[in-house]
């Protein structure tokens, strides 16, 4: 089937617009740091909130069951668990769940200011355009749109932004917005300019449904690890700042860093992200092995890209072991995690483009 050139052009247009909107969202996140409501007390409360949030949620749920005043989880400290109020005794479990959700929602509304709301809205719009761009590229070439390097990068950044949005909502990690969006804008910008490849057919070796499975999984995992790496870098910066402050030495860049949560929360966010991404990467490597078995007769032939995917897997496994070993958590674990991401980048950028092997499908000549 011939390539649909019109859709291909539309895809390019959508992706370029998405980059611009992401850039504006990035600026909005930056403005939040500069001008947003002072969240220092909220940050302190957030730290305490980590510790008692569930307790408060249980308490809030409890008081919701008995129809007591619904207090913001922010003020969970003021929440008297034994506070019973009149009425609503018969609301039962369903009312309790609604009450709990209501309490969490109200709590979430508190510290989120105008700039963050704008930035998140812009990111959502950008993601919609980005996804549409990836989708139209797929429609233009009548196959899944991750067959060459350009398509792979656009897809993985889409996954990264989607995952970041999800993590923001789940773990309230708005502070990551500036760093994640900055990285995405940079990478996507590079994709559009330097490594752009026009829409085209795939060579016969890639015409297999295992392409869909293997490259999809790798794209997903790379996007997720991308977010974890950005978090890791932020962690190291914040951790260094915290140490300097604790040691009484002068520390620069106070403005942004004081607004970010402590190292512990960043560390936990990075850990949870990698816990999400590691099984996906494992599955992707296995799917790649199955595909290699169909295509070349051997499920593992130590092809350079295979080897580096294995190295990346081992270093992420190192990270997971390190987090379970005393003396290796915190900074050392973050460094391991970033080393693993560097291996991943090396695999994607250097190995597939420069070192000859079976995986030279970048589309660049």
């Amino acid at each position: 089937m011939p390539i649909n050139v019109g859709l291909a052009h539309l895809s390019n247009g959508l992706l370029l617009t998405a980059v611009v909107i992401y850039a504006v969202a990035m600026l909005a996140f930056a403005c939040d740091f500069a001008f947003g409501k002072k969240r220092a007390p909220a940050v302190a409360r957030a730290r305490v909130r980590e510790l008692v949030s569930a307790k408060a949620a249980a308490g809030a749920a409890d008081s919701a069951v008995v129809g007591g005043p619904v207090v913001e989880a922010e003020d969970g400290l003021a929440d008297e668990p034994l506070a019973d109020g009149p009425g609503a005794d018969g609301s039962g479990p369903r009312g309790a769940e609604d009450g709990a959700a209501e309490a969490v929602r109200r709590a979430g509304r508190g510290p989120v200011g105008f700039w963050v709301t704008t930035a998140v809205a812009l990111t959502c719009v950008g993601l919609a355009l980005h996804s549409a761009g990836v989708l139209t590229r797929g429609l233009a070439v009548h196959r899944l749109p991750w067959g060459d390097m350009y398509e792979f990068v656009t897809a993985l950044t889409c996954v990264a932004v989607a995952f970041f949005l999800g993590a923001m909502v789940r773990y309230r990690a708005y502070y990551m917005g500036l760093f994640v969006m900055a990285s995405v804008v940079l990478v996507l910008g590079l994709a559009e300019t330097v490594i752009y490849t026009p829409a085209g057919e795939l060579p016969p070796a890639l015409q297999s449904y295992w392409l869909a499975i293997h490259v999809t999984a790798m794209t997903l995992a790379t996007g997720i690890f991308f977010v974890a790496a950005v978090t890791g870098v932020t962690y190291l910066v914040v951790d260094r700042h915290a140490r300097r402050v604790a040691a009484g030495r002068p520390a620069g860049a106070d403005g942004i860093l004081r607004r970010l949560p402590g190292p512990a929360e960043l560390d936990r966010l990075a850990y949870r992200t990698i816990v999400f991404g590691f099984p996906v990467w494992t599955f992707g490597v296995m799917a790649g092995a199955i595909w290699a078995d169909y295509a070349w007769g051997s499920y593992w032939s130590w092809d350079p890209t295979e080897t580096w995917a294995f190295i990346t897997w081992v270093v992420y496994a190192c990270f997971l072991h390190a987090r379970a070993t005393a003396g290796w958590r915190g900074r050392r674990a973050a460094v391991i995690q970033l080393t693993a991401f560097v291996c991943l980048l090396f695999n994607v950028l250097v190995v597939s483009l420069i070192i000859p092997g079976q995986h030279s499908y970048a589309g660049l000549h």
Partner: protein
């Protein structure tokens, strides 16, 4: 790999502050460690072995070995490897004559078969086995173990809530116990409290993951012992059988003998390749089809199959893959005495993909009076680019052959093997023949009555990869188990819920519910706990009278014991 540990390691991991010496002080409480803390006079072989074993199975060693495994794989990806690309290794030797032998001494051209690489992963798996086996035994042993006692002060747990109810304590506890056991918690009910635990599958998943990794290694080993890989180039219209003499490259496993090869035969009836004819990707191949006829045993029924990339032929457990293709121009050579000394296709090897320019050599060692040799190129779509010949498109739209002629000694009688695709011109002298490309039917007349070469036309050839790997299916099953164990160990949380009931003021019962999650990797226990607490509240019933007004902020309740993450 933490948690339940032999004392010194546990001491080291529990004490975080104060540096490493504190770990030693913690050991002082342990008589066993105390014995080893005395100066080494009677430490003996057994003691050193035990020390070695403990070091080997510790987390730190696992970390170091994992890291070494990753680092050790790096040269295997950057340097050419003998197993997959022996020509590149030879080129490396030529380009770096001083460095290459040093690298070879450390097996850097065969990293993944090197003894040191094997040492790393074998040590790693030894460490793994030493850790996993005791834990498996322990897990099986604790399969029937009831949950632990409820702590006295549930408010000290990370998650806790309390409320009042009108029901008497025994009844309330019984309802709570029923509810929890309905949710598939393992429940232990005593007079004053109920303890419930869930999530044992996490440890099972963790162990399954690590054992399955071992199984993957064993499967790979199985393939390495009993499997084989081979390559064969097959010209259209010819056949071959799966014997050692018929294979171009044969890489058997260690325990494979030539008699173990499955006795199938196959014939390449025809091959067709289609290319993109226009657009930006013009010249890229779009489909390959090889029409085969095969039998799985001599004298058996013959079947047909169309071989394409990604769709191998499976015959008798062996898989035959289509790897590549090329052109084999046909020649007829007549020597000086008038005999026809060569008459058939000679495969040429493509050297570039955009036009499929192919190079090859024609060796005629039995020509008289002199041996003859020809080397040159086959151009599928011949074009003249500024005086030089090139091929513009990979399909045979305008094929021609351009050859240089030689005569003399080909060097084949001495017994040392040569590549059939390259000519060793050391013993040959070039013949003075006017160079021109030949189209089908044209000939070269060699000077000095040495003979004639006629280019007859071309055929296509395919290259096949023949692989047999008995460990392939076990590796797949083990891989699935790896993934399953990983998901289980990440998604299942080991958690405990406690309920205490005691008499409160005004004849009411005070119910305390506390919850604790070990290694809550993905979060979510808070939601589960709040849901449980609410349900218990619902099941137990409301208090008789409303509560007094709030007394002010309660203290921050935070457990002393912070569950270690990533168990």
């Amino acid at each position: 790999m933490t948690g339940l540990r032999i004392p010194p390691e546990a001491g080291a991991e529990r004490v975080r502050a104060g540096g490493e010496w504190t770990a030693e002080l913690a050991d002082a409480a342990d008589p066993q460690a105390q014995a080893s803390a005395r100066p080494a006079r009677r430490f003996g072989v057994a003691g050193w072995l035990r020390w070695g074993w403990r070091q080997l199975t510790s987390m730190r060693t696992a970390l170091i070995l994992l890291f070494l495994l990753a680092v050790g794989s790096v040269p295997g990806s950057l340097l050419p490897q003998e197993g997959s690309n022996p020509e590149a290794v030879a080129q490396y030797y030529a380009a770096h004559p001083g460095l290459a032998p040093i690298l070879a001494r450390f097996s850097l051209f065969n990293v993944f078969g090197a003894p040191w690489f094997a040492a790393i992963y074998l040590l790693l798996f030894l460490s793994l086995v030493g850790c996993v086996l005791p834990r498996t035994v322990r897990m099986v042993g604790s399969a029937r173990q009831p949950p632990p006692r409820a702590p006295r002060h549930l408010v000290r747990l990370p998650l806790s809530v309390s409320y009042r109810t009108a029901q008497p304590p025994e009844q309330a506890l019984a309802s709570a116990a029923r509810l929890l056991s309905g949710k598939r918690f393992r429940v232990r009910a005593e007079a004053d409290w109920v303890a419930a635990e869930k999530g044992y599958l996490r440890e099972a998943g963790n162990l399954l993951f690590h054992i399955a990794l071992l199984a993957v290694l064993v499967s790979i080993g199985l393939g390495g012992l009993y499997g084989y890989k081979a390559n064969r180039l097959l010209v259209a219209g010819t056949s071959f059988s799966n014997t050692v003499t018929a294979l171009d490259v044969f890489r058997p496993g260690r325990l494979v003998t030539p008699g173990d090869l499955q006795p199938f035969s196959l014939t390449l009836d025809s091959f067709s390749a289609s290319y993109v004819m226009s657009g930006t990707l013009m010249g890229q191949p779009s489909a390959f089809n090889a029409a085969l006829t095969y039998t799985s045993a001599p004298g058996g029924p013959s079947r047909r199959y169309v071989l394409t990339v990604n769709h191998p032929l499976v015959v008798d457990g062996v898989r035959v893959f289509l790897l590549g293709h090329g052109y084999a121009p046909e020649f007829r050579v007549t020597d000086g005495t008038g005999h026809v000394v060569l008459n058939g296709p000679v495969p040429f090897i493509p050297v570039e993909t955009s036009g499929f320019t192919s190079e090859g050599a024609i060796k005629v060692p039995d020509a008289s009076p002199q041996q003859l040799g020809f080397a040159g190129v086959f151009l599928p779509t011949t074009v003249d680019v500024g005086g030089r010949l090139a091929s513009a498109f990979p399909a045979p739209l305008k094929p021609s052959v351009s050859l240089v002629s030689y005569a003399g000694n080909l060097g084949m009688n001495g017994g040392t093997s040569q590549s059939v695709y390259t000519l060793d011109t050391a013993g040959l002298h070039q013949l003075a023949v006017a160079p021109r490309p030949l189209t089908a039917g044209q000939s070269i007349q060699l000077p000095g009555h040495l003979g004639t070469l006629t280019y007859l036309g071309y055929r296509q050839w395919i290259s096949l990869a023949i692989t047999y790997d008995p460990g392939q299916f076990p590796a797949l099953v083990s891989g699935i188990a790896v993934l399953g164990g990983l998901l289980l160990s990440f998604m299942v949380r080991r958690r405990r819920v406690f309920v205490r009931a005691g008499p409160g003021p005004a004849g009411e019962t005070i119910i305390e519910v506390g919850g604790l999650s070990r290694s809550d990797a993905s979060g979510g226990f808070e939601d589960e706990f709040s849901g449980l607490a609410t349900e218990i509240r619902g099941v137990i019933g409301p208090p008789a009278s409303p509560a007094p007004a709030p007394r002010g902020r309660p203290e921050e309740h935070r457990g002393d014991h912070e569950p270690p993450e990533g168990e």
